[in-house]
């Protein structure tokens, strides 16, 4: 009895001390919020058109593989999730392994970009950037790495220009939009006023996109802040938390015309999966993809559920064709603690084997 009481007393004492240290940390963070620098890997802008830029990252090693990697990110949020901060940068990891890395930064679209169609993002910007990478690297083929919606764009590009793509890596990229979970359900034609949104705003504002994502997990923020309070005395956690917060709140508008086509043709009609999607009047047939292919889905992804991503394996003609599901959520699979030991080495090893 006395032992139990003394245990409770000891726990209570520890708990009070821990909460006091949390309070102190809270005070410290409030007075001097940590300044986490994101996207710090040195890079050059090697091509620019309108708001879109092509980056070439500086390689820290002497010799690099001849096949360059071009990273294609989504039209929402920022590219620097792939280069969050030193130690949590997928780009740095690729560079350190001897790969030559380029990345497409779509920039922040202005009101004047609202009529740029999705077709131009693929056959205009992306096509020119692929050709620029080939020109700069001297390679006749490249590796395309697409993350989230960027993966969907990369898969479409690989189907339209199969000869230019040697390796295709898709990370949590929706292909079968009928299986894209709640997001697909909420944007259906019966209740989602797509045309009214685009007509009223031009570009879809970030807060509206965010509201959609919040709807996926309405108590996500509460869980996030609960974990923050729980781990706030851990400096590593704090660094990661603030970097992620910077990224999560640093949203960009989705260009209106591109959004209209993306939602209507892909989420509402699922044309890409059916083989009826068209870009610049050309039908996108995923069967034409012959590049070596690796798809990575995340087991707890509610933005792009695994079944929406890995089905691409059945649609393409690649001989070297693989689709895997790794633990984590849509973002966690790339920058979470586990990702450093699972996703990163898995993708890098796969690319290194095929970039010689």
């Amino acid at each position: 009895m006395w032992e139990m009481l003394s245990q409770v007393q000891e726990d209570l004492f520890k708990e009070v001390n821990l909460n006091l240290s949390r309070l102190g940390k809270w005070w410290e963070l409030w007075l001097k919020p940590p300044n986490i620098e994101v996207g710090t890997t040195p890079k050059d802008v090697v091509y620019r058109e309108n708001k879109a830029s092509l980056y070439r990252y500086h390689t820290p090693v002497d010799s690099v593989k001849p096949i360059p990697v071009l990273i294609v990110y989504a039209l929402i949020n920022r590219l620097y999730i792939l280069d969050l901060y030193p130690g949590r940068s997928f780009v740095q990891h690729l560079l350190g392994e001897g790969l030559s890395v380029y990345a497409v930064d779509w920039g922040t679209p202005g009101d004047e970009d609202r009529d740029i169609p999705l077709d131009y993002y693929i056959e205009g910007y992306l096509d020119r950037m692929v050709r620029k990478v080939m020109e700069l690297s001297g390679a006749t083929q490249i590796s395309l790495f697409g993350y989230c919606m960027g993966g969907t764009l990369a898969a479409i590009y690989a189907a339209l220009h199969p000869k230019r793509v040697k390796n295709l890596v898709l990370l949590t990229s929706p292909i079968d939009f009928a299986k894209a979970g709640y997001l697909a359900q909420v944007v259906q034609n019966e209740h989602f006023p797509l045309d009214a949104v685009v007509n009223a705003y031009g570009n879809v504002p970030p807060w509206l996109m965010q509201a959609g994502f919040k709807l996926l997990n309405p108590i996500g923020d509460m869980v996030k802040y609960y974990n923050f309070i729980k781990h706030m005395h851990n400096d590593l956690f704090i660094e990661n938390f603030f970097a992620m917060e910077a990224w999560v709140n640093d949203n960009v508008p989705f260009p209106g015309a591109a959004y209209r086509k993306y939602i209507k043709d892909l989420y509402q009609k699922n044309l890409l999966y059916k083989g009826l999607f068209e870009i610049d009047g050309k039908r996108v047939d995923l069967k034409k993809v012959t590049a070596n292919h690796l798809s990575v889905a995340a087991s707890e992804d509610n933005i792009c559920p695994p079944q929406s991503a890995i089905c691409v394996k059945e649609l393409i003609s690649s001989q070297d064709n693989e689709a895997i599901v790794l633990p984590g959520g849509h973002v966690g699979v790339l920058v979470g603690g586990r990702a450093l030991k699972t996703t990163w080495p898995r993708i890098t090893d796969w690319l290194l084997e095929r970039s010689g």
């Binding site: 708990e15 821990l18 970009d113 205009g124 020119r128 006023p193 009214a196 949104v197 007509n199 009223a200």
Partner: protein, 189 residues
């Protein structure tokens, strides 16, 4: 493990699971989705109306509304894209492709001519038939040797015809003289 932390963790996890389950059911309800869509549509209509009114205000102040500035920027973007597209074009490759195409076109143009030649060739007599043609031509040429004599005969006949015509002409003159002398005498009677 501290008992309070453990208890709060357990409670939070229970709350999170229960709330998530409830919200999942709620947010998939057609009534919720319809309500969400309806509210959104109405608020968008309101926004559009407000924007139109603001545009009118700017115009009345003799200032360009946002819409017009945006359209101008759009045109600039479009021009930039066109310029970049022109810069990016591989002119040498295009010229080569065009020449190749032109050469192909020339080959295409020659096709009917070739066909006509082939047709002519197919209708020409065989070498064996050619010797027959030569023989026929030689015969014609041999027959043509008698032609000058025949021509001389024709000339002679024509000369004789001329003498006969002259005699006929003198007869006609005499006849005219006779009719001229008899006509005044008849008038006097």
């Amino acid at each position: 493990m501290m008992i309070w932390t453990e208890l709060s963790d357990q409670y939070f996890q229970w709350w999170q699971a229960a709330t998530t389950r409830y919200l999942e059911l709620f947010k998939q309800e057609p009534v919720f989705l319809r309500g969400f869509g309806f509210t959104m549509e109405r608020s968008l209509q309101f926004k559009k109306l407000t924007d139109q009114m603001m545009d009118e205000v700017w115009r009345n102040l003799r200032l360009p509304p946002l819409e017009e500035i945006t359209r101008l920027q759009e045109r600039l973007n479009f021009l930039e894209s066109r310029l970049v597209a022109l810069q990016e074009r591989d002119w040498s490759e295009e010229v080569r492709a065009k020449l190749e195409k032109r050469e192909l076109a020339t080959r295409e143009d020659l096709k009917p001519l070739k066909k006509a030649l082939t047709d002519i060739n197919s209708h020409l007599p065989h070498p064996g038939e050619m010797s027959q043609v030569r023989e026929d031509l030689a015969k014609i040429a041999a027959n043509a040797l008698d032609l000058p004599e025949e021509l001389a005969g024709i000339k002679e006949a024509l000369a004789q015809l001329g003498a006969k015509l002259e005699a006929l002409a003198s007869f006609v003159d005499k006849l005219a003289e006779v009719t001229a002398t008899k006509e005044p005498a008849a008038k006097a009677k």
